[in-house]
């Protein structure tokens, strides 16, 4: 199991806060760690329901929040509408390029930007917790179609 370390972290997190390990929480964990890329709560619910798993909308929302607090999921608005979630491995944070034409999302990592962010926080007396950098633009495929 590739996500054993993360699952341990989740279980420990629950124990530390005196919260229970329910089948719904485990189901949601498995689901979000089995999927790649960004997904919203509604899709996650549908995906589990389709696979015959029983979980309610309210529980999906509640426990996504829990995964975010635990640091195992990231919650962001990449478009303009729903929140999107993605699982997080204890590794490097990434940011997003979003194509306004086709909606394609490209992830990138920039240590340089990260360093500048730390510097800015220091300068303003902020202790950074998390950040969200999103660049919207047109990918060259879409630019090609528009041009020709």
């Amino acid at each position: 199991m590739a996500d054993a370390r993360e699952k341990q972290r989740f279980l420990q997190f629950l124990r530390d806060r005196g919260q229970r390990v329910t089948s719904e929480r485990l189901t949601l964990f498995d689901e979000i760690f089995s999927l790649h890329g960004h997904i919203d709560a509604e899709q996650l619910l549908a995906s589990m329901t389709n696979r015959g798993l029983k979980i309610s909308r309210a529980t999906v929302y509640r426990n996504l929040e829990l995964l975010v607090e635990c640091g195992l999921a990231r919650k962001q608005r990449l478009g303009q509408s729903r929140f999107l979630y993605e699982h997080v491995h204890s590794g490097q944070q990434h940011d997003h390029l979003v194509c306004t034409g086709c909606g394609r999302v490209v992830e990138f990592v920039s240590p340089g930007i990260a360093a500048l962010q730390s510097e800015i926080c220091r300068a303003h007396g902020f202790m950074p917790k998390y950040h969200s950098l999103q660049i919207s633009g047109v990918c060259n495929q879409c630019a090609g179609q528009a041009g020709g």
Copy 2:
């Protein structure tokens, strides 16, 4: 009038798209350019209503969208709930530091980050249109209260 250039741009934008110059559009333009910082649609509506100006909620929402398309306003979620708007002068873009404690928003400009963003776009074949960088953290005032 300090915003003459921007108003001209707005009028030209409307003409170019064959859209009409209505008193409501001008009212909204004046309102958002007279205010500084970030404001949501509801506050904007209340502010105009209080000053005895007549405009409806639907029209505020519709025409804020128009200003965004024109590039004269920026629309962002800085907290988790409403969209916030701010007027844009044809100048330097800025980004935001948001305190998760008190909600305070600090604007900053980082040419270094801007340069790295351009580079990243080039590397991925993207033509950047706009971006949104938001760093959430705790300001030193809030950190002090929490600590002491």
